[in-house]
Homo-oligomer: 335 residues x 3
């Protein structure tokens, strides 16, 4: 969630199936389980009468935002015997780079910077948008790193009108020196080729004489996608909400501020926002909610997906050496 | 259902999961299972060609409204051999106090007056409204008698603007001499108090100099709530429709008729209806559909709820000495 | 589906639970399973860049429409090793009488003419409409041949205003000499009668002096209904989509073309379409989605339904001598 969208009113999010209420209190952000233990009413609609505390709208149970302790019960008097005996779960929360980061895990939380790419920590001018979408977050992140679809699904996007699109390529995934990115490296890239039955494909576009530089694409745990353009960097974060929905955070970062930053904001508003984070990304979104696997039948460029799956199984925080999922078993190792 | 809302056209209701069709025929009301036994078509849309009977729209099976017997089958001729061999379940039904009462139980029905509060039998001027709402009827009735929520949830209702609202109170539930009401009696009522962390609460409202009399609140089987004001009496009846929906009948009774009755109707239309049976009650309705229990964690004022639950287990018609429900077991006896 | 409604864009249908994509390619129609085996994306939205082939929008997997073979994978180059190893199921498809016929069965398909009534093969002027509707196709076809409902449900339809409606009748079902129709034959038809409790019914309509000829009604596998009027023939085809939905194809055929054909088209547009295939048929549609059986309790005129059920069990393609369904067992043999 963007910091700027959380005001005095509480907000409600669902992370990994946990319903969480967010509040801003005297500039700090607090995250607390979104259910009053008394009768199960959501706390995201709690009243904000007392600093550092929220009050459930139903019976005035008043919880400390930092500890989750039930400190006051207005409708049971100053000596209410239940005070001090009830606690609501709170979640570690931080604000970095204009974004709110909540840790819903059971293990001790790592420093939030450990999970943020250096360019985002370095900051500058940060733009973007967040939305909750239908689909599983794994499909969203696999679609992000997927090597093949960019060359076909997005071929007619407005965003790629003036970009040279390869016909096909061979790629491998390799670690990045800078951060924990797994980078997609093209080993062979053909802009056009001659196919059986079809002949030459694709047709040349006349304005494709000026070679456009392809962005650098990478993926990293937990849920980061990197789209590094020449002067700015795009990040996409895919966050599991529940089994059928995910949050997509689409972020653009320019390392400068000042006039350059202002011009970047303008470029985002006029061009990058509506075309890249808009129409281009909506093509992906349509696909992600339509994916029906297993069964699946992978092909050569899906090495980007299988490398990412293997990486997750090895490096995901708290991952155990689990048996391969049925989908994994269907992957044809020979293709 | 209000008597005035059932005309010649049939109506369809769901009581305790039973789908029931209601008809008015020559001033009497009849209740009949809402399913033709032939092909399962609803009878609530039946044609009304013949007095005392309804005719299924599909094949003209014609049932006696009083007995539910299949007496005529128009499309099978006067000698139709199926006549007399098929019966649809009918339900005991009565009209009292301008309301329609249907008994969906399997046991012999008690006289309807036995389940009606004396003030309603006595009559006078009766106003109100009925609606079907999302939520379980038990939550609706528990919310009705709930001691604590009135002091917080309804603190900012328009209805309570000129009423003095207590900060907290201690109450007990005791039987009423007059009828089977379980009455909520305040043992100690504090209009404001000094709380840890918070200090004095609530702030005084300047117009609270004229002390307002608090209404007398009670609850009774099956599903009655009493809100006795100085000159008129409010009743709320919570009727189970199915596991996730209930009917709320909100009734106001003034013992007088004539000019006083007319003035009461006007007061209901302008003030009690929109404010008490409107906004105030909609706050409850929002809560009732949001309640997610078990688990629940009760507190001192919930003695009103636990007393009502115990009362139901002992006195509900047909109740057997069942094991306590899981929700009951979670109640902390010490609070 | 009518031939005229399938253009260059693909269409998606569900037949017997199978999701099928339809395409027209150089005037021929092709039917192919609506799921790309790679990542499960629907093929009905595939791109149509190359003749005789469709290309999945996600990664450019290109399938031959006739064989379903994966012949080209654009984003994996001319030597893509997966080509020739993947196949999507295709379905036999034919165009006859302006309609598209798809065979979703597993057995070898019979010639499509074998399943078409001779009047439709003979052709002439063919009009009609197709829609997908809520309800089970068995209820739709049983409602089609149902003897009793026409005399009551449709008594007040605009379509029957100037038709004489019988009060009741006795009918039997008998095979037709011409085709595999099971024809409903009236043994005794009473236009009005004197019933117990009710007396004379129905009241005479004054304009019923000119006797109208009743249409000839028949039913045939798979899902055909015949409504033979004096000069034109109506067909209704009920096609199972899934357990809760069916397609209703409503067809009218006049054996002539030319000026007579044009006049028939006009008559369809002004009268038969809106009244018979419109309001009259929508009465049936309302019923079909409301039918809740089992249990059911059949009556004498339902011999039309039981004869049809027995016929299906004996003659349906691929039918085995299965045990009677629970609904069947409830049929009272004595009525």
């Amino acid at each position: 969630m963007f910091s700027r969208s959380l005001g005095k009113q509480g907000a409600s999010i669902t992370l990994c199936g946990e319903e969480i209420a967010l509040f801003r209190d005297r500039r700090r952000v607090y995250a607390i389980n979104d259910r009053c233990p008394h009768r199960g009413i959501p706390l995201a609609v709690a009243r904000r009468e007392f600093p550092g505390m929220i009050t459930c709208i139903y019976h005035g149970w008043t919880f400390d935002l930092a500890t989750g302790n039930l400190d006051v019960v207005l409708t049971d008097g100053p000596d209410s015997p239940i005070c001090g005996k009830v606690q609501v779960r709170t979640y570690p929360v931080a604000e970095r780079a204009g974004l709110i980061w909540v840790y819903p895990g059971d293990e001790p939380p790592p420093p939030v910077e450990q999970d943020m790419p250096p360019q985002l920590i370095a900051g500058g001018t940060i733009v973007g948008k967040v939305s909750r979408r239908r689909g599983n977050w794994r499909y969203a992140s696999e679609n992000g790193i997927d090597d093949g679809h960019g060359k076909f699904l997005h071929r007619h996007s407005l965003w790629t009108t003036f970009r040279m699109m390869a016909a096909w390529s061979k790629a491998r995934m390799e670690p990045d020196g800078e951060w924990r990115w797994l980078i997609r490296v093209g080993e062979r890239v053909e802009m056009a080729d001659t196919y059986p039955r079809i002949g030459r494909w694709p047709a040349k576009r006349p304005w494709w004489k000026f070679k456009s530089k392809r962005p650098r694409i990478g993926i990293a745990l937990p849920g980061w996608l990197l789209v590094k353009e020449t002067d700015w960097t795009g990040f996409e974060v895919y966050v599991p909400s529940d089994a059928d929905n995910y949050y997509a955070m689409l972020i653009g970062v320019l390392p400068d501020t000042g006039l350059r930053g202002l011009l970047f904001r303008l470029r985002y508003k006029l061009y990058i926002g509506p075309l890249f984070h808009g129409q281009f990304n909506e093509e992906d979104q349509w696909i992600i909610q339509k994916i029906r696997i297993p069964p699946e039948r992978l092909y050569r460029p899906d090495v980007s997906i299988t490398a990412w799956r293997t990486h997750c199984e090895k490096h995901a925080r708290g991952a155990t050496t689990a048996a391969p999922s049925p989908a994994e078993e269907l992957v044809e190792s020979g293709v």
